[in-house]
């Protein structure tokens, strides 16, 4: 921008020219922000509206009340998806949290090669779920992966066929998801461990606290806020998991590894039941809000407390 253009006042011009001159400014401030905010609100409201209409192949007007919702909720697909989400969400979050915390504590011991190790635990996060899902589907495939290797080595009774086992297949998703994202928990925990007040540690050392006591009594309690944040973000990831399952099991065998995001996609684009697909999407949103709203309330209380403290 040259100085001539941005010189504030051009004498002799009417006042409206000031508005005109500043138009690009207003456009740059407002258009991207409004576009982003408007699309989020309008798109959400539109999807909510569609979920109450009898839309199938194309969106149509009309009102069917909660019929789409009851149809989705009653479908076997959705029930299995919810069961899986509950199982996957809880085990994945607990295990990735535990893995992340253990890794963070180990890396916090001033060990050699910390940077390299940290990079190794974090690299899966940089790679697409499609790629990691594909690779894990090979490793866990009994005819190709770990089971085949062990068989070839001579232990022919070894069995690791979870990928094609209806009851166990969901655990393959858990394994791949932990591998993919416990590095995230590790990174946040490590940042938390490193920010523990040095005076606090010194005081505990003077009191004669050993490493175990130190972590249990002094260091770990300070990690609570980070733990809650990690839980919420991992739960959010679990609720919207799509690519990983699509690449790893594609919901199978049968519909054994179905998850809500796959049901939405199936209803919307494979069965062309837009109303039901939208209802399933809104249900996903409600599940997410069930996690996010308590978290927002907790954050609010925390903030108030720090202000008043």
């Amino acid at each position: 921008m040259t100085d001539a253009i941005s010189t504030p006042m051009h004498p002799g011009r009417p006042a409206t020219s000031d508005m005109v001159r500043r138009l690009p400014e207003y456009l740059m401030i407002w258009v991207p922000l409004l576009l982003s905010a408007a699309h989020l609100i309008a798109f959400s409201l539109w999807t909510i509206w569609i979920s109450f209409t009898p839309s199938t192949l194309v969106p149509v007007t009309g009102w069917v009340g909660l019929r789409n919702y009851s149809a989705v909720a009653a479908s076997r697909n959705w029930q299995i998806a919810l069961d899986n989400l509950l199982l996957f969400g809880s085990t994945f979050v607990v295990l990735s949290l535990a893995t992340g915390l253990i890794l963070a504590i180990l890396l916090d011991q001033r060990i050699r090669g910390e940077n390299v190790l940290r990079s190794i635990f974090l690299y899966p996060l940089a790679v697409s779920f499609v790629v990691t899902g594909t690779v894990w589907s090979w490793l866990l495939n009994p005819g190709l992966g770990i089971q085949k290797l062990v068989h070839d080595l001579g232990w022919s009774s070894f069995r690791f066929d979870w990928l094609i086992d209806r009851d166990m297949a969901i655990w393959t998703i858990v394994i791949a998801a932990i591998w993919q994202s416990s590095g995230f928990a590790m990174a946040l925990f490590l940042a938390g461990l490193r920010s523990v007040d040095a005076d606090l540690i010194r005081a505990a050392q003077i009191d004669g606290a050993g490493p175990v006591r130190m972590y249990r009594r002094v260091i770990l309690p300070t990690l609570w806020p980070i733990t809650v944040t990690v839980i919420v973000i991992q739960l959010q990831f679990a609720i919207s998991t799509f690519d990983l399952v699509r690449a790893l099991t594609n919901g199978g065998p049968g519909i054994a590894t179905q998850l809500p995001a796959l049901v939405v996609y199936d209803l919307m684009f494979q069965r062309s039941l837009l109303g039901r697909g939208a209802a399933a999407a809104v249900l996903m949103l409600l599940i997410l809000l069930g996690v996010l709203l308590p978290y927002a309330a907790w954050r609010y209380v925390q903030r108030r407390r720090t202000i008043h403290a």
Binding site: P8, P32, F43, A126, S128, I146, L149, Y265
Partner: protein, 285 residues
């Protein structure tokens, strides 16, 4: 507590960390090794093994040889698609996010905190809530099954992240600096060009790394809004594994997987610091 060197507990720590690191690297090692093994070799044994001789031809086949549906152009056209979506969408969303983040943090206006709150909601809102509306918008604008359509989606959606990153960075800039410039008669853009932008490189690198990785790895929009030759590489990989399900070509597929993952892996390798910063910035608001 943190300075002993050769105690048995130290050895145990190294042992445990090395074992976990090996487990974390194993999938990568397996794909790299398989990308150098012939399909026959893999079929005779398992996916896990050392190449008998290095089958570099897998990479040539993966890049420009193998067939998906009727087209035999390898992964190259899809890599190009991904690049043509990711690069412009990263640049647009970063630039717009920088201006938006600057506007909401330093150029207070009526309702700014509301707008900002709604924009950042986009980080949490499930993609599934926006799939049908985007379908309608793309269809009505004639952008369905085009790369331009994907650029548009990623630019607008990316604003949620980029505005958040930039805003959190810009609020830390001393307001006196801005106030002084405004008293001197500098307008919105002049302050942005002369003061904000020169201070921005650290956050812009984080934003670019984050957006590039995100958009390159995105799958749902790619598979929903594009078909065939217009698909980004993530969607093409899924199509490839479905296409070769009958005649396994794991050597070629592994090479394709490596090529598809290479851009983000390289960014992670060289910009890991910024990647982690984006990760934590997205997490702790």
């Amino acid at each position: 507590m943190r300075e002993r060197t050769y105690a048995p507990s130290r050895i145990l720590i190294y042992l445990v960390v090395s074992l976990i690191a090996a487990a974390w690297l194993a999938p990568l090692a397996v794909v790299v090794l398989n990308s150098l093994r012939t399909n026959e070799e893999i079929a005779q044994g398992s996916m896990i093994g050392w190449p008998q001789h290095f089958a570099w031809s897998n990479y040539a086949a993966a890049w420009s040889g193998f067939c998906v549906a009727e087209t035999c152009a390898g992964i190259r056209p899809y890599m190009l698609n991904s690049a043509l979506v990711t690069i412009p969408a990263t640049i647009f969303s970063t630039l717009l996010g920088a201006v938006a983040g600057y506007a909401v943090s330093l150029w207070r206006f009526r309702g700014d905190s509301w707008i900002y709150g709604i924009v950042t909601l986009g980080i949490f809102l499930p993609q599934q809530m926006r799939l049908l509306p985007w379908t309608i918008v793309l269809r009505d604008t004639g952008l369905m099954n085009t790369l331009t359509g994907l650029v548009l989606i990623h630019t607008i959606q990316g604003l949620s992240f980029t505005t958040l990153f930039c805003r959190n960075y810009y609020v830390a800039i001393p307001h006196e600096l801005i106030r002084a410039a405004r008293i001197d008669g500098a307008g919105f853009f002049r302050v942005f060009w002369r003061i904000i932008l020169p201070l921005s490189p650290p956050i812009l690198v984080v934003t670019v790394v984050w957006q590039f990785t995100h958009i390159w790895n995105e799958f749902l929009y790619g598979v929903t809004f594009t078909t065939g030759q217009q698909q980004p590489v993530t969607a093409a990989l899924i199509a490839l594994s479905a296409a070769v399900a009958d005649i396994p070509q794991h050597g070629v597929q592994s090479a394709a997987v490596i090529i598809a993952a290479l851009p983000t892996l390289l960014i992670y390798l060289f910009g890991g610091r910024y990647f982690v910063r984006g990760l934590t910035a997205g997490a702790v608001k």
